[in-house]
Amino acid sequence: MNRKNDRIIVAIIAVLLGILAGAVIILILGKNPLSVYYSLLRGSGLAPKAKYAGGKNMLSDFSNFLDFITSMIFAALAVAVALKTGLFNIGVSGQMLVGGFIATVLIGYSGLPAFGAKPLVILVAAAGGGVIGALIGFLKYRFNINEVVSSIMLNYIASYITGFLINTRYVDPQTRQSKDINAAACLTLHEVRIGSAKYDIPLGFILAVIVIFAVAFLFDKTVFGFELKAVGLNREAARYMGINVRKSMVVSMLISGLLAGIAGATYYLGYITTIQPKVLPSIGFDAIAVCLVGGSSPIGIFFSAFFLMIISKGSTYMSSQMGLEAEISSVIMGLILLTCACSTFILPLMYKFRSRKEKGEVKA
């Protein structure tokens, strides 16, 4: 067994422990954890519901689920790129908001035709998020400001400024959210009728799969990616090797911000089509859990996004069916995060256990 497999096992153990702890809470509240978890699956289109509204079926729920995890994949990749370089980008939410907001205002309301608008949405949002990300990297590079503190500050600044602009200029007086974007600029084709049912077709999902491989290629096959990783593993050693550590940190935050911006585009101009003022998307924080469970590896992130988002996505349906508050899903996510944070502890424990077993075998 190699170390990669070990990490996968640790991730699975962490998730199982989190789910188990969640089950205990559900039990205390007098509900059946199994049916709660099963209704999460149903809400994500992975298990059949008892009945469907018109134009809906399991597959259309699943298409909506894929739409949802598209943003998550980008957001978690954003966390991962920074984390590989030893930086903790907790500002993904703010970068998503800025990217999504600028794209909404510049492209979403512009009336450009679809073939021009859709790529532009991604580019503009990526640029918006990238600028914020690079700013955090620059503050770290130039002034040695802890990236966690600066990104939290920028989160709040972004949320208040975009909230102010939406409330004064772009608000829809009925919904109290920003006005709907034009369908041409939307990255998800909503309610496309195929046969008897309507599906949401997330164009961003294809891009997400491509970007997963691109990021994997960057870190596994290029010198530049190797340098970023080296900075993350040991800054002093990297400097000794002649790597420009500070430049690497800025560039890594720039890439992280770009990805967060695209996450914002696929969320605000895809999964939903408006922005709620002064609210940071929870995806940006859940992305940390997805990234840690996925072991910061792009392929790992794909699978962990898929499994963890069942908990988020299914929570609304579960809440309506089981009478349990939907927030239980974020509690379970938090518990999974907690066990993941302890994974540095689980791994040595596993080695100890294994070496003891091997010794036993030798004796026998």
């Binding site: 040695n144 600066s150 409330n167 940390i288 927030e327 938090g334």
Partner: protein
């Protein structure tokens, strides 16, 4: 004149809880445990305090100030209890302290939001996402409040301001004048030496983190009373991170940190007064809201690499590496 008074009064109400939370952060970080969990700790403390106060209000009546005292005590206990999680993760599980802190914040936010809704529904029989708190009484110190300008510091005070000032003196003495404080400060700079002197480094760090939890919890319930007179997920406004910025700016020392907190407090209240004075629409107060955050960044920029962080900050103590 009246405007200056208001700036001072409201500035102190915001600055003091921020300060006492930062003092907690100083305790934790001087002992060597990076503490980004302040945000979550103040939220969880505010939750337990508000829950107790909310339950007691029915018993004592809304006029009584007894629930307020209980709220403050239980907020400190709640914050302390939740901080144990951070202490265990950092000291026993040797988790990455930055990640642990952020995880604690996310968990606190999720847990308190969920529990508030669930308890409201199952115990109090009402669908609500908040605990409404009574009004905390305010008072002016007779005589002192008559002094021109400076009198504003003694006018319209909350009871918690007195508590915080007293605690500030105690914590200052404990950190700088007692042998425990010496061990604590040394544990963050050279834990091996502390260990060699026969003091249990891990124990010191546990106590330090728990103190920071208790002080954060107190700050949380003060914010809950003074800002909105209720507990809801609005408590997570990033004040925990603001206080971290303040303590970094204060160079991990108590007195300079107080200065930083006062700047935050007065900048915030001055901004609000300005919006009111000019008579701008309420949407513009959102722009004022960003003031403390912008100020934090600006202050940190001016600090520029001149930080005197404890030398062993963020490293789990490993006896075998001595």
């Amino acid at each position: 004149m009246n405007m200056l008074n208001n700036i001072i009064i409201n500035g102190m109400i915001f600055a003091l809880p921020l300060f006492i939370m930062a003092v907690g952060g100083i305790y934790s970080e001087r002992s060597g445990v990076t503490n980004l969990a302040l945000e979550g700790l103040q939220g969880f403390g505010a939750f337990t305090g508000a829950l107790v106060a909310y339950s007691l209000t029915g018993y004592f009546g809304s006029e009584s100030s007894v629930p307020v005292y209980f709220a403050m005590i239980f907020a400190m206990l709640g914050g302390m209890l939740f901080s144990l999680l951070h202490a265990v993760l950092c000291n026993y599980f040797k988790a990455n302290m930055v990640i642990s802190g952020v995880v604690i914040n996310i968990l606190a936010m999720a847990l308190t939001t969920f529990l508030t809704k669930t308890i409201n529904k199952n115990v109090f029989g009402a669908a609500s996402d908040k605990f409404v708190l009574g009004i905390m009484k305010r008072f002016s110190v007779p005589g002192l409040s008559e002094i021109p300008v400076l009198g504003a510091f003694f006018t319209n005070m909350y009871m918690f301001e007195i508590v915080i000032v007293i605690l500030a003196f105690i914590t200052w003495y404990l950190l700088y004048k007692s042998s425990f404080g010496l061990h604590l400060r040394a544990a963050g700079d050279n834990p091996a030496a502390v260990d060699a002197a026969g003091v249990d480094v891990i124990k010191v760090r546990y106590i330090a983190v728990m103190i920071s939890g208790a002080l954060s919890g107190l700050a949380g319930i003060c914010f809950a009373y003074s800002i909105s007179a209720k507990f809801s997920s609005d408590i997570y406004m990033g004040f925990g991170y603001l206080s971290i910025a303040a303590l970094i700016f204060g160079g991990w020392k108590i007195m300079p940190t107080l200065g930083a907190c006062l700047i935050f407090g007065f900048a915030r209240s001055a901004g609000y007064q300005l919006v009111q004075k000019i008579g701008l629409p309420s949407a513009y107060s959102d722009l004022v809201m960003i003031l403390p955050y912008v100020l934090t960044l600006v202050m940190l920029i001016f600090l520029a690499g001149n930080s005197q962080a404890p030398k062993a900050l963020g490293e789990a103590y490993d006896k075998s590496k001595r």
